[in-house]
């Protein structure tokens, strides 16, 4: 778990004990800065490698960075920065920072537009407002859409994003999904296609916080349409694909946490459309992240001064646990 203070903690499997990871670099902690995401190497069982994304730099020059290290208990060793978004910016917001390993061992990460630099999202040579794809050592794969550098930065995988806060790969379909915050309205879920343009800020379903159009264009040729968008914004946060055994009825569904509405959205693909179900409103807290554990349970991270990790279990397990508690 990444905390607002800039620390990262390792929670044990029982949820009872959390230890602060040692050895991590100091992140730039202000506003939306800090640590963003943590992911394990696909070969973690043998190499113990972890990857963390964080805000790096100073108020005048900061950006999203990926560091790689080896986890040894509660200590991260052999830390190496493997990628830093360029150019650096002077705003403490809109970092993106969600990571996802792809089946070929490459690592994708979302980056934000920095708020003040929205037009950068359309600049394929600028790494803000993108999904980028790198090798696990930080080098750039030769099959990226702009790998030759002639039409864009070689690391760019897709562009035209605002502040993507979710990224997940579906191994069954081979699809990569991302969602991103719109401004006022215009949160959207996208299917990420290499080299594709997702429109921001020239094409968007949202408007400025002032009420003015960001752009009068809601669609445009050559711009990918979202699979679903939310207006008003839900503050989409965290994205998980359910492929566990504990909830057979959830198989293949996407789960999205919401910061604004304080619930979790279950998204199911029905042909070309997406059906949406609102869950867990009883939590009543801003939802920062949603993950599926290796045990098939759904884990929900809340965002507050007393944030919680909530483990969602099927009714039969929950009842069994309750019975066990009573017997004890």
């Amino acid at each position: 778990m990444a905390l607002r203070s800039g620390q990262v903690q390792r929670l044990d499997a029982t949820g009872q004990s959390a230890r602060t990871l040692e050895g991590l670099p100091e992140s730039y902690v202000l506003s939306q800065g800090g640590y963003f995401d943590i992911t394990l190497d696909p070969k973690f069982a043998t190499n113990q490698r972890i990857y963390l994304s964080l805000a790096h730099g100073t108020p005048e020059a900061n950006g999203t960075r990926i560091v790689r290290g080896t986890l040894n208990g509660s200590r991260v060793e052999n830390l190496t920065p493997i990628f830093t978004v360029s150019p650096l910016k002077d705003t403490p917001v809109h970092y993106g920072g969600k990571m996802q390993f792809l089946p070929d061992g490459t690592l994708a990460m979302t980056t934000g537009d920095g708020f003040e630099y929205r037009e950068a999202a359309q600049d394929t040579f600028n790494l803000m407002g993108k999904v980028i794809r790198i090798n696990s050592d930080g080098s750039i794969p030769m099959d990226n859409p702009f790998a030759d550098g002639g039409q864009g930065h070689p690391a760019v995988w897709s562009y035209g994003h605002r502040n993507p806060q979710g990224l997940v790969f579906d191994p069954d379909t081979g699809e990569l999904y991302s969602h991103e915050h719109g401004a006022k309205g215009g949160d959207e879920l996208n299917r990420i296609i290499p080299g594709a343009n997702y429109g921001w800020p020239a094409v968007t379903k949202g408007v400025n916080y002032s009420g003015a159009y960001i752009s009068p264009l809601r669609t445009a040729p050559g711009v990918e349409e979202p699979l679903i968008f939310w207006d008003p914004s839900i503050g989409a946060s965290g994205l998980a694909l359910y492929q566990g055994d504990a909830f057979p009825q959830w198989q293949g569904a996407l789960f999205v946490g919401t910061l604004v509405d304080s619930d979790v959205r279950k998204l199911t693909f029905v042909g070309d459309s997406v059906s949406e179900e609102i869950l867990f409103t009883e939590i009543g807290e801003r939802i920062r992240d949603v993950r599926v554990g290796p045990d098939g349970m759904l884990y929900i991270l809340t965002d507050s001064d007393q944030g919680r990790v909530i483990r969602v279990v099927p009714d039969d397990l929950s009842n069994a646990a309750a019975s066990s508690d009573q017997e004890n």
């Binding site: 705003t91 359309q122 020239a202 009420g211 003015a212 159009y213 009068p216």
Partner: protein
């Protein structure tokens, strides 16, 4: 007093309309600058949308800015009547300009996207100046009468 109040309200409304218009066109300029086509119909639609849609936040900001700026001009103009026009126009210009600069300083971000550019920021000053000009003309009629 009634004339002054009416002049102030008219100044706020006109400054708001011009300010919203400049914001609208500034945003569209940013879009076309990215290589996207915006038709005349979309441009006009955006003006209508933005002028009618910015009343929640931008209109109160304009109202407060002029409420603070115009009395300052009045204090100067009262002792220097020959500076009446330039005084109110300048007050309106500075009031709206300052509003955006202060907002950026407080929030750390530009509350109005078009003010990220110098021209967009100056355009807001022009909108305030137009408001100040109108206030000068309307509030001054009582003396002429």
């Amino acid at each position: 007093m009634t004339r002054t109040l009416g002049s102030y309200i008219a100044a706020v409304i006109v400054a708001y309309c011009f300010g919203a218009l400049f914001i609208s066109q500034g945003n569209i300029a940013a879009v076309t600058g990215l290589g996207f086509d915006v038709t005349m119909s979309q441009r006009l639609g955006a003006i209508v949308h933005d002028v009618s849609g910015m009343t929640d936040i931008y209109l109160p900001l304009v109202a407060v800015s002029l409420l603070l700026g115009l009395p300052v001009a009045f204090a100067v103009v009262r002792k220097n009547p020959h500076l009446r026009m330039i005084g109110y126009v300048s007050a309106g210009f500075v009031a709206l300009l300052a509003m955006h600069v202060i907002m950026k300083a407080v929030l750390g971000l530009s509350g109005i996207a078009s003010t990220r550019t110098l021209w967009g920021l100056l355009a807001q000053g022009v909108a305030g100046g137009i408001g100040g000009y109108l206030f000068c003309r309307l509030s001054g009629q009582s003396k002429a009468d």
